[in-house]
């Protein structure tokens, strides 16, 4: 799906009248292009004076809306499947769709992404079949997709570890001389607010900074590290930490898909042009539980959840499309129907996933095999054959 290019739009600097707004009231540093009420803001300034704007066609606006709805519906289906005993665990992205779709659509094909275990929306934007992570959480495979093919690394469960992987990867990109032009490569590392307390993330900041790695640190600040609130993670807004490490940071409304897109596109373009790393703090909220094993009602109050409900990323996009007459009821109904069909299809395919043959656990340990492992495989096969009814 082709998308507008905010970089080009910014460069053209059209003389059209615009209302420049640095941020929404009360949150002085939040880059926002679409208010919770669905009002479009022409452009917004970042803390360093960067002007952010997007210039999408109607078709592209509708495409973003479709992404948001599909991603939410597929996520809800996975949650239901876990409750029905079909998945061992699921980390829902509910509430964070805009941050993921916005940043995911801002990636160019050559860009590499390093996700956590919650980046189902980014995965979807990378063109990976949404069934893939479900195999992991059903316990029938280790993930399933080829990171090189889709330029999307495996889900990383260890908190913050992927930022180190991303930093090393990005340093490699720079050393390979793949930065410096519009066709340069950029890398994006996803993590959450809780991960910013990890040594790994801070080490990544240091390395990326001093080696000028073409890396965008994309932090989805969903306000809770499982049950620990943001005020136990930091005394300053997270994006400001970047300054101490020597690279720019910006806070974007993570429930605004347009601003998330614009800010990420800009940061990626800076990286691919050899201007080094930057930190994006996508300010958002996890509407659901940390994972299906968690009960957020034990540590969050209902009024807080309600306040964020009013900032819903999909509702504001729908209000905008409706007001601007970019889409009508038939479009919304069609998207809902597509979401329903795809989620039913996803469910059917999950239920049909075969259990792996136990012996396949030896298959992908080493790329070129190992004699010791071959021996273990042989022993294990023999053991499995000792059971009655064995097909081996």
């Amino acid at each position: 799906m082709a998308k507008g290019d905010p970089g080009a739009a910014a460069r053209s600097r059209r003389a059209a009248p615009r209302s420049k707004r640095a941020a929404a009231a009360g949150e002085p540093e939040l880059v926002q292009l679409l208010t919770p009420e669905g009002e479009r803001i022409e452009s917004a300034l970042g803390p360093d004076g960067t002007e952010y704007r997007v210039d999408f066609t109607d078709e592209e606006y509708r495409g973003l809306y479709r992404d948001l709805v599909l991603v939410r519906k597929l996520d809800a289906e996975a949650t239901a499947l876990q409750r029905q005993g079909e998945l061992g665990l699921w980390a829902s992205l509910l509430g964070q769709e805009a941050a993921q779709v916005g940043s995911g659509r801002a990636l160019r094909p050559q860009d590499m992404a390093f996700p956590t275990y919650r980046e189902h929306g980014v995965l979807y934007c990378r063109g990976i079949d949404p069934i893939m992570p479900l195999g992991l959480f059903r316990g029938v495979d280790q993930g399933g997709w080829d990171p090189n093919e889709f330029k999307f690394n495996m889900y990383t469960i260890v908190i913050g570890a992927q930022t180190l992987h991303a930093t090393g990867y990005a340093m490699g990109v720079a050393m390979d001389g793949k930065t410096g032009g519009d066709d340069g490569e950029a890398v994006i590392a996803y993590f959450g607010d809780g991960a910013t307390s990890q040594g790994d993330v801070n080490e990544s900041f240091v390395w990326a900074s001093v080696f000028n790695a073409p890396l965008v640190f994309f932090c989805q600040n969903n306000q809770y590290a499982i049950s620990e609130p943001l005020e136990r993670q930091t005394r300053v807004p997270l994006y400001r930490r970047a300054g101490g490490f020597g690279f720019p940071g910006v806070r974007v409304d993570g429930n605004d898909v347009l601003a998330s897109y614009a800010v990420t596109r800009h940061a990626l373009d800076n990286a691919r042009h050899g201007q080094g790393p930057s930190l994006i703090e996508a300010y958002t909220y996890r509407m659901g539980a940390h994972t299906t094993s968690d009960d957020p009602t034990r540590y969050r109050i209902a009024s807080e959840v309600e306040a964020w409900q009013a900032k819903d990323p999909i509702a504001r996009m729908k209000a905008f499309l409706t007001k601007q007459q970019i889409a009508d009821e038939s479009f919304f109904a069609e998207v809902d129907e597509q979401a329903r069909t795809e989620s039913v299809h996803l469910r059917e395919r999950v239920l049909a996933m075969p259990n792996p043959e136990p012996v396949t656990m030896f298959d992908h340990v080493y790329p070129n095999g190992s004699s010791e492992l071959d021996e273990q495989r042989a022993q294990f096969s023999k053991y499995m054959e000792s059971f009655e009814g064995s097909a081996h």
């Binding site: 409750r83 029905q84 005993g85 299906t292 094993s293 009602t297 000792s386 059971f387 009655e388 009814g389």
Partner: protein, 484 residues
Amino acid sequence: MSRIKTFNLPDLGEGLTEGEILAWLVKVGDVIELNQPIVEVETAKAAVEIPAKWAGQVQSIFQPEGATVEVGAPIIAIDTDPGAGPIEESTTGAPASDLPTPSAASLAAVEIAPEEGMVEPGLIGGAAPGGRTAVLVGYGPRTTAAKRRPRKGSVPAQATAAPAAPAPAPAAPVPAAPAVNGNGRAGGPVLAKPPVRKLAKDLGVDLAVLTGSGPLGSITREDVQRAASGSPAAAEPLTVAAPATVAASFGADREQRIPIKGVRKLTAENMSRSAFTAPHVTEFLTVDVTRAMKALDRLRERREWRDVRVSPLLLVAKAVLLAVKRHPMVNSTWAGDEIVVKEYVNLGIAAATERGLIVPNIKDAGRLSLRELADAMTDLVQTAKAGKTSPADMSGGTLTITNVGVFGVDTGTPILPPGESAILAFGAVREQPWVHKGKVKARLVTTLGLSFDHRIIDGELGSKFLRDIGDFLADPEAALLAWT
């Protein structure tokens, strides 16, 4: 595939074994959609809504609100094609709709049939006192029968247990709680520095049974080394792994590492929790049971008792049940902010099995006649030995007997199963010199050891309870006449 589909409670949060039904959001007869929320379930981790796995019409609901349900047990049946007309008898085995119990078809599709008693709070896998679900970390032991295929050429379990087969060694693991020796600590964690803990682990010394000589009673390196070199029998817990594995697998270093898992792990967790939560008091009473043993012989001679297994343990069980009636407070649970006293006695019998120590209980044993009690005990032992004891059999115990006497020891200081307030150790019955009618005579004598939770039971009550058990065993016929 059947149009009636039964939904079993899934593991809702990585290694849970049960959940409590908080509220049903649908009722029998409701037409529901796919993923429509049908029930709220609370587990140790979270209260969650479960969405319907199939669209259709609710045909039956198997568990009431408030019930604690094992993972894998059926909770609802859904008719996935309600428009297809009434359900034939042959498919369901029962009239359609509004079934109070699972249909035959739905039961056939599931492993575990729900039954009463499954929901009671209790020790293994059951709810903790106060109605909260026991905290579960990691994957609990699967006490249901595993579906693993049999090994080729393997011998059925019964065959190995049969007396004809020469067993490698007598009784495997020992029942009964391992006795904590007098270390002067009533409770609280063991104090020891990490290197000392490491040393103890390497040497196989259980810190919990040592007396610390360091500051604040902490256990020192010397304490551990002394325990390791000194009398191993004292420091060694009563329970060891099955002898078959002990003999075979010492490595070159002449040490064996046994992974802690399954029943061993569960026992360890329960015993540690109980030992350091409930302040235990143990009292002993030595009783001349000569008359009782003679009474048992006379009982065995009766025609209607000819085929019944009559053991001294039966009399002890009867004694406990009658004594509970006189002192109901001993049959209770400390529930944090209240004491729950139970009218029913689910009498636990600690049993040594191939898998380790298990404590199945006889439900509502107080209402059973002696004959029924004897049958129930025989049944319980046979089920345990066959490895077929279900989680329901083990949950909800209220008071326990551990028969350490079968191993030839005099008595012990048993540890309470979590949630129970009294446990009786029944020692060996031996011929010993005893003053009988003013003269020293050879009499059959046994020693009882009663541990109780001092939060609930004071010395007076505990003593009276133990005394009554002793009185019964000294002269059962007279006690029966006097008490009943």
